[in-house]
Amino acid sequence: MPPEMHALDRRLPPASLLIFSVNSITQLLPLVILGLISGKADFGQIGFWLLIALLAVVLGALNWFSFRYRVGRDQISSRSGLIFRKQRLLKFAQVQNLSVVRTLLHRLLGLSLVRIESGSGAGDDIRLDGVTQAQVIELQAMIRGEHAADSISSAPDPVLLKLGTLELVRLGLISNRGMLVVAALFGYLVQSGGERSMRASMSWLIDPIWAQYQGAHLSYMGTALAVLSMLLVALIAVRLLSVGLSILQFHGFELSARPDRVLGRYGLLTRIQAALKFERIQQVAIEQSLLHRGFGRASIRVRSAAQQAANEGVQQLAWLAPVIRAGRVDELLKRIQPQVEWGQFNWQPLAGDALYLVLVQRLAWFSVFFAVLAVVFKLKALWALLLLPVVCFSAWLYVRRTRIHVSAQSVAVFHGGINHLTLASRVGRIQTIAIRQGPLDRAFGLASVDVDVAGSMGAGLRQLVLPLLEVERARLLAKQLLDHA
């Protein structure tokens, strides 16, 4: 028997029963796997799938009936579970993030999944799977400490960044999302059955090409051209896939500003709405690969303090701008972190001897690489020496371009190899400062300063390190950072 309903308790709308049923399917997965493995059922057996569907509906309905929530003046609570009852209560003041996700099913039903997260790390967020748009707006308003009526009638939020389809095509061309998918697929094929399964699955593509090639009797030049053109076709196909994935992920990307946070909305099939409180931003990463620069673009990621949320898959706004005109980066970041001197950093070079250290390091790695080549290819390995100038040039380029910035408000590093990466944090967000010195650093009288901040280190984010500085300068910078931390 479900517990008695209190007058203030609310149930989710009946349409969300369908969402609960679909969610229950994941709970039934072990049963499905067991059925298939034991041979009691197979994919063609309609009765088995009907039973699973029925179970999912029953389980979904039970979960739906046992779930209720209550919105008070300054708190929200939820109760769920028939056998093991789980109650959660969150004060609005504790709420760090409210994210809204709309999968295809949600959109068909006109509902949303709302996750209200405290960022305490205890996994005590409240999930409302299947609330109406009006309820979402009401919740957002209450959590912001306003009355619902004010919020609905309030002016629309100013839009900071909007990405059209053309811009997403650019993003697809710049990013290599397609390659990641291809690599994952390749990995899966290798895992699932080795070379034979790979050949079998690619035979529809390879066999006709191979037959054509054998029939054509091409010269060396012809073969080379054929291989080159095939590579080109593969490259174009992967880039097209990247474009498709970018559009799928970021369709209708819109970043709007609230007084204390930014809101991002994006996604073609699954529509995501995620928020990011300005105060919780720990680190900003601006990426500019060679392709970014060719298109005059950059990408901005942020690292925020809601670690648990990221781990549990709650929608955090990780991309401030998946792609943005390079000239607009500072303007956008100034809106989000007005305390930081975006665009006016006092960039300082690395230590004078840094080049020697980097050269020694890279040449040492090159020697190992060369030794392996020499063992395998004997004298032919000498050709690899032609790479030496490239190794030296890349070391020179990195040291010459890499810069650091430290002020009372902010700390930043610009990594300037072939791909550019700027990492910046507010000094007020620093957790610890460490000075590091390896044996090679000591030989050159150098040291590095590690600046640690909160927040999980997602893809594309790295620790902020002020590298290759004179020891005395490293000490002074550490002191300066501590004074303002």
Binding site: R280, Q282, A305, R429, I430, Q431, T432, I433, A434, I435, R436, Q437, G438, P439, R442, A447, D450, D452, V453, A454, G455, S456, M457, Q463, V471, A474, R475, A478, L482, D483, A485
Partner: protein, 161 residues
């Protein structure tokens, strides 16, 4: 210690720590000695050679267990001032970490059986950071560790992220 990365961190660890570390090293060497003994028994060497080799390796391990902790001990320094807790250590790879008082989340004090006997404690400072989130100092006298903990907790603020 003029070449320390952090000249402000000046306090050495409690001398009893050296005994603790040596015991740890010695205990850590025991399984290695045992594995070496098995290897020697299985080896084609004559008994005499096998025992001589085993003894030689044992002496080497013993020397390492005696001198390496001493070298590490000599480089360990810490300090607590009005703004931060600092440590500096490392032989080949040197490191100094500064934990601002305002960033402390909580402080742990732990004592193993050997530490209890020697009157020592492990002090762990936890921040909300990621790669350097915790800073542990093993080998301060219990009374001193308690004093540092109370001092640090008195200055901890509420919202530190």
């Amino acid at each position: 210690m003029t070449d320390s990365l952090d000249p402000i961190a000046q306090l050495p660890l409690d001398p009893a720590t050296l005994t603790l570390w040596r015991v740890h090293w010695a205990l850590g060497s025991l399984p290695i000695l045992l594995a070496l003994a098995v290897l020697m028994i299985a080896s084609p060497f004559s008994w005499l050679l096998a025992i001589a080799l085993w003894l030689a390796l044992g002496v080497l391990l013993g020397l390492a267990a005696w001198f390496l902790p001493a070298m590490q001990f000599a480089r360990w320094r810490y300090a607590l001032d009005e703004s931060a807790f600092r440590i500096a250590h490392g032989l080949a790879f040197r490191r100094s970490v500064i934990v601002p008082r305002s960033r402390l989340q909580y402080v742990d004090l732990a004592q193993g059986p050997l530490e209890r006997r020697l009157g020592l404690a492990n002090l762990t400072l936890n921040t909300a950071g990621t790669s350097n989130a915790t800073v542990t100092i093993s080998g301060i006298a219990l009374a001193e560790a308690n004093r540092i903990r109370d001092d640090l907790l008195a200055s901890t603020q509420r919202d530190v992220i």
